[in-house]
């Protein structure tokens, strides 16, 4: 399976991006195009998830998964915070900000995992898209609370709004609902774009993510050995917890693997923006370098395979 991973064009494009950044090539994907691809990918997985749920209906498994995701996102930052302050030697504010990233999720990691798993006949359930959306934001609340020692801030109203009206949440949930309303038949006319192009777009998008992640790593002045270890340790711990919880609440193997990958993944879009606003005194150099520069490539290249094998093992 590791070999499968490393001959998949999707992963190879990611590696090409990393390579180009390391040799300091001027290769660059126009920002607007990269953003457009991420919107396309989110709309596509949202719709597909919605259609699947429209077919399968609301099941107990769905409810269990949603609840599990919610709990994980709220609680994973607590563990992370402990490690980040003790072992990572970060200040309370910085540790809270980083913890929020690790409780939340990375949409691209999820999409890549879904493709890789599906390619091996292990399709996660459609409702996992809803779980993805659910897990994006609770961690922000826990992270802020940890950073501020539980002191409420005058800005909290703004943050809550920012968090729920967040672009990726609105787009994922919106496309999910559209998929549910339109159903399989209504989706037929628009299917070619969202279906046919999906994997190819993911290739080009991961090319860009490889460039961005590696450039972030190169240009960072904020990482030390402790933080680097934690950026690998945290996904290992969180991913294991995620797979266990998923298996425990009765999810199928593929969905438990996906939940593990969600738990292992760290946000680098929604949460950094929220932290910059809500905790401007936290250092963005730390949280971006850890989540984007290390955890993200680790999960794409190793984590996805690891947690899907773990799910197979315990499932």
């Amino acid at each position: 399976m590791i070999v499968d991973t490393l001959t998949s064009p999707i992963i190879l494009f990611f590696v090409l991006g990393i390579f180009a950044a390391l040799i300091r090539s001027d290769l660059a994907i126009p920002e607007a195009f990269a953003k457009a691809m991420s919107i396309y990918l989110m709309a596509a997985i949202g719709i597909k998830g919605g259609i699947e749920v429209a077919e399968s209906g609301f099941t107990a498994e769905l409810a269990a998964a949603a609840l599990a995701g919610l709990l994980l996102s709220f609680t994973l930052p607590l563990l992370a915070f402990g490690l980040l302050t003790r072992f990572g030697k970060l200040s309370r504010v910085d540790a809270g900000a980083v913890a929020a990233h690790y409780g939340s999720v990375s949409v691209v990691t999820f999409v890549t995992a879904k493709e890789m798993l599906t390619g091996q006949g292990l399709s996660p359930a459609g409702y996992m898209v809803a779980v993805l959306a659910i897990m994006e934001t609770p961690a922000i609340i826990t992270g802020l609370w940890l950073a501020r020692k539980g002191q409420p801030s005058s800005e909290n109203g703004g943050i809550l709004h920012e968090v729920f009206a967040n672009a990726s949440v609105v787009l994922l949930v919106g496309a999910f609902v559209i998929g549910m309303i339109a159903g399989k038949d209504g989706f037929e006319p628009v299917k070619p774009l969202f279906d046919t192009g999906f994997r190819g777009v993911l290739c080009l998008f991961l090319l860009d993510m490889g460039l961005i992640a590696a450039r972030r790593l190169i240009q960072s002045k904020k990482l030390n050995a402790r933080l680097i270890s934690l950026a690998i340790l945290l996904p290992l711990i969180n991913g294991t917890i995620g797979v266990m919880v998923g298996t425990f609440v009765g999810m199928d193997i593929a969905s438990a693997a996906a939940l593990g990958i969600l738990a292992a993944s760290a946000s680098y879009i929604a949460v950094p923006a929220a932290m910059r606003m809500a905790l401007p005194e936290a250092d963005p150099g730390i949280y971006l370098s850890m989540s984007l520069g290390i955890t993200f490539p680790f999960n794409i290249i190793i984590g996805i395979t690891l947690f899907s094998q773990l799910a197979n093992l315990v499932g």
Binding site: A34, S38, I212, Q219, S220, R276, P284, L288
Partner: protein, 102 residues
């Protein structure tokens, strides 16, 4: 044409913080503002390029023309977080026509 002297305020700031600063600008009654996108930069913290995907590293210049009084009031008002927000604030003199607007 008759011209008068006003202040040209330029604040270089992380894009996610723009709304906060505009709130301060409105509080001191500054009449208008314009945003200019920064493509890349470098400072004590290393280099960065803008990328729309994460967006977290985006920086923006807030450009405001205002009277000296309002410029001073704005400076006082944002002084407390100049450091923690890592703002770059510069103020210079410009000549404007129809200066009563500002």
């Amino acid at each position: 044409m008759e011209t008068v002297t006003r202040k040209r305020i330029e604040i270089l700031v992380d894009t996610p913080l723009v709304p906060r600063l505009l709130k301060h600008a409105r509080d001191v009654d500054i009449s208008g503002w314009s945003l200019i996108h920064i493509d890349a930069g470098g400072g004590r913290d290393g280099e960065w390029q803008h990328d729309d995907v994460t967006g977290a590293a985006a920086k923006t210049i807030i450009l405001m023309i205002a009277s000296k009084e309002k410029a001073d009031a704005l400076t006082e008002s944002i002084a407390p977080f100049l450091d923690s927000f890592r703002l770059l604030l510069t103020i210079s003199d410009v000549q404007v026509v129809r200066g009563e607007r500002f």
